[in-house]
């Protein structure tokens, strides 16, 4: 995935002579390694999940979605948690640094994407096993609420103002969003509970062999994929910030260089 995209020309920022160096992207050796690992792990998960592992006694073929949905959900919660932690690090005076805000923004966006996919796959699974696309179950409702909260967070990040002011607002919003998660959890739990419990964490996991192995692999695969996305997105965030502050100056310098070369 790192190498297949063609360099886009539309909307290219005004730049100096764009010498295509090895680092004219957000990738480097580490991300390529991560990307290849992510692709290989995802492929292995898909192969094990769709071909090798047997259908379940009760769930039938539908059990194959267990190799996608729980891992996506876990990664989405991890990303939101990281977003809140990075926001806290930004707000804390001694650790305040631009990179924490960038990390929070990147984690928030990756989290929203993963959360959307979690809801989509969950919905498809629900349609297959319960016969409905949506049901008012505690965990579904909580995830949908989280999705809405973090979409709002991304909206807040896209507002104008200085980067300092934006970072401050966004960091407080992320922490406030995270603060009500336990409350949301309690509320929705008291309200409705249908969802099956954690499959792996219960004392006697009722899945075995290939199923367990595939499921464990899927968690690794999605965590690595999420990390790869996060690194790229984090670098994009840093570059965007830099572009906002330095873009005009760079453009002016480029025009001047053109003028004097003539």
């Amino acid at each position: 995935m790192t190498t297949t995209t063609a360099p886009a020309t539309v909307g290219t920022p005004p730049a100096g002579p764009a010498a295509p160096t090895a680092r004219s992207s957000t990738g480097d050796r580490t991300t390529r390694l991560l990307g290849v690992a992510a692709l290989a792990l995802l492929a292995a998960t898909a192969w094990l999940g769709l071909v090798v592992s047997p259908p379940d006694v009760t769930q039938g073929q539908l059990v194959r979605l267990i190799y996608v949905h729980p891992a996506l959900a876990t990664c989405c919660y991890l990303a939101f948690g990281l977003c809140a932690l990075a926001s806290a690090a930004w707000l804390w005076p001694t650790t305040r640094a631009r990179r924490w805000d960038a990390l929070a923004g990147a984690a928030g966006e990756v989290g929203v994407v993963l959360c959307g996919l979690t809801l989509a796959t969950g919905s498809i699974w629900g349609r297959g096993s319960w016969g409905v696309w949506w049901t008012w179950d505690a965990r579904l409702t909580l995830t949908a609420l989280l999705f809405a909260v973090f979409v709002g967070y991304l909206g807040l990040r896209r507002t104008g103002g200085t980067s300092e002011a934006r970072a401050r607002r966004a960091a407080v919003a992320a922490l406030l969003g995270a603060a009500v998660v336990p409350l949301d959890h309690e509320a929705t739990n008291w309200w409705r509970t249908l969802h099956q419990g954690n499959t792996l964490l219960t004392s006697s996991p009722h899945i075995h062999g290939w199923q367990l192995l595939t499921m464990a692999l899927s968690f690794v695969a999605f965590v690595v994929t999420g990390a790869w996305l996060l690194v790229h997105r984090y670098r994009v965030e840093l570059l965007e910030d830099r572009y906002e502050t330095d873009g005009l100056r760079a453009a002016l310098a480029a025009r001047r260089a053109e003028g004097s070369a003539r």
């Binding site: 909307g11 992207s25 957000t26 996608v68 996919l117 989509a120 790229h232 994009v236 570059l239 965007e240």
Partner: protein
């Protein structure tokens, strides 16, 4: 089984689209600055 395919397809397409979008944005932006100024 069709729901299983649907779930896998949605995940794959969603992740791929987002990955492509992120990497492309990164390329466009990264070309604006000399590599040593990228800041990571």
């Amino acid at each position: 089984m069709s729901y299983v395919w649907m779930g896998y397809a949605v995940t794959a397409v969603g992740l791929a689209l987002y990955a492509v979008r992120t990497v492309r944005r990164g390329r466009q932006l990264a070309r604006s600055f000399p590599p040593e100024e990228h800041g990571w």
